[in-house]
Symmetry: C2
Amino acid sequence: MAEKQALILVTNDDGVSAKGIASLFEVVHGMGQVVLIAPDSPQSGMGHAITINDPLRLYPSTLFEEIDAMACSGTPVDCVKLGINQVLRRKPDLLVSGINHGANTATNVLYSGTMSAAVEGAMEGIPSIGFSLCDFAADADFSVAKKIVASVVDAVLKNGLPNGVCLNVNIPKLTMKEFKGIKVCRQAHAYWEDRFDERKDQFNRPYYWLTGKYIEMDQTEDTDLYWIEKGYATIVPTQFDMTKYEAIKELESWSL
Amino acid sequence: MAEKQALILVTNDDGVSAKGIASLFEVVHGMGQVVLIAPDSPQSGMGHAITINDPLRLYPSTLFEEIDAMACSGTPVDCVKLGINQVLRRKPDLLVSGINHGANTATNVLYSGTMSAAVEGAMEGIPSIGFSLCDFAADADFSVAKKIVASVVDAVLKNGLPNGVCLNVNIPKLTMKEFKGIKVCRQAHAYWEDRFDERKDQFNRPYYWLTGKYIEMDQTEDTDLYWIEKGYATIVPTQFDMTKYEAIKELESWSL
């Protein structure tokens, strides 16, 4: 008798027509029953946003053959919620998100729609992985990334993940020959030193575009930013308890 | 010589015209130099979303007297970034966000625009506090909440906060007589058991509204959900390193 097929939910934040999600689909197609639900428009930087005050639309996408593929008017987290609670008849065995066009190392995990979809999966008890390639180009070369994705997905299907933990996988922009290997590490402490371009519209009223550069605060060798720059892919086990436990005692000493 | 005034940045996610931010302003007005930058429309559930692909607008709001108040077309995190990098000439001494109409206990910290603004403040090295009242009503009674806000703001201005830590303060919907006190605790592990209302539009096409109920997973006495239900306000020290450190070793044993 055939083994039960893994049910795999695929999503992303660059939108259903991005090259990255097509590449991710090519890897997981054949590893189980694949259902794809992705935003109908780019949702980069949407973080863990959900749509509360507006209705959501969900319609078939013809971009993927042989599988159930849908475009959703909402955010990446909306796609996960709709997928699990409206579209699929049972909880998926795996959720994969990406492959993102651009890095999601360090604190970018908080801004990233790709990673927020994976975190939402972890919150719902589903083994979940977010994949990002350090290349923002729309026509980025995903051939090395696809090999790494295959290896990580295979390992997660085999080993599972601790409950409440998802993986943040970042892949450097390198050829297979230049690629050094995979490191498991922690999220670097870095932040965006933001700047806004102030411009004027046709009525001479100001508007602002977010820009800036990323500043690394860590000087140690155990972070995703450190290893990515050394030519490794990085895996950060990621969870959603944001409590700073060490601060509880100090705060309890305040007279409130 | 007069002591240098604290520079206080005020924001929220319910929008500049919400009663909650007016109540917060009433508390901090007079505690320092107050600048208010809040979304021009409700931004509940926007999490840590930032606006990347669209320009942002920022215009004066006449809702607040005697201070610099601005409405912003973006998300709560956009308000913080614009405030710090475009509007203010120096880093604020305190960022306060809220008072949110509705609880942000447990994992709601990830969905909450109110708390994401505070987390963004922490990422930028600013002592930051998010306040939420467990009452969704637009005309909620903030009189008890204001007393608690005053007490917590006073303590933070006096004691500071550990770098990279902000506070998630939730306040129960109670009279001062019913109110039990303040507990410092951890974020509960709970999740939304989502459901979508499927409806039909005028062309008989489906659309979906997010709904659902909140399921508590913890059975212990040290969480925000536990103490809120017992009649206490809760303070969870909150940070932005999402690494699951305990999982690193297990993942390193995988052959990747």
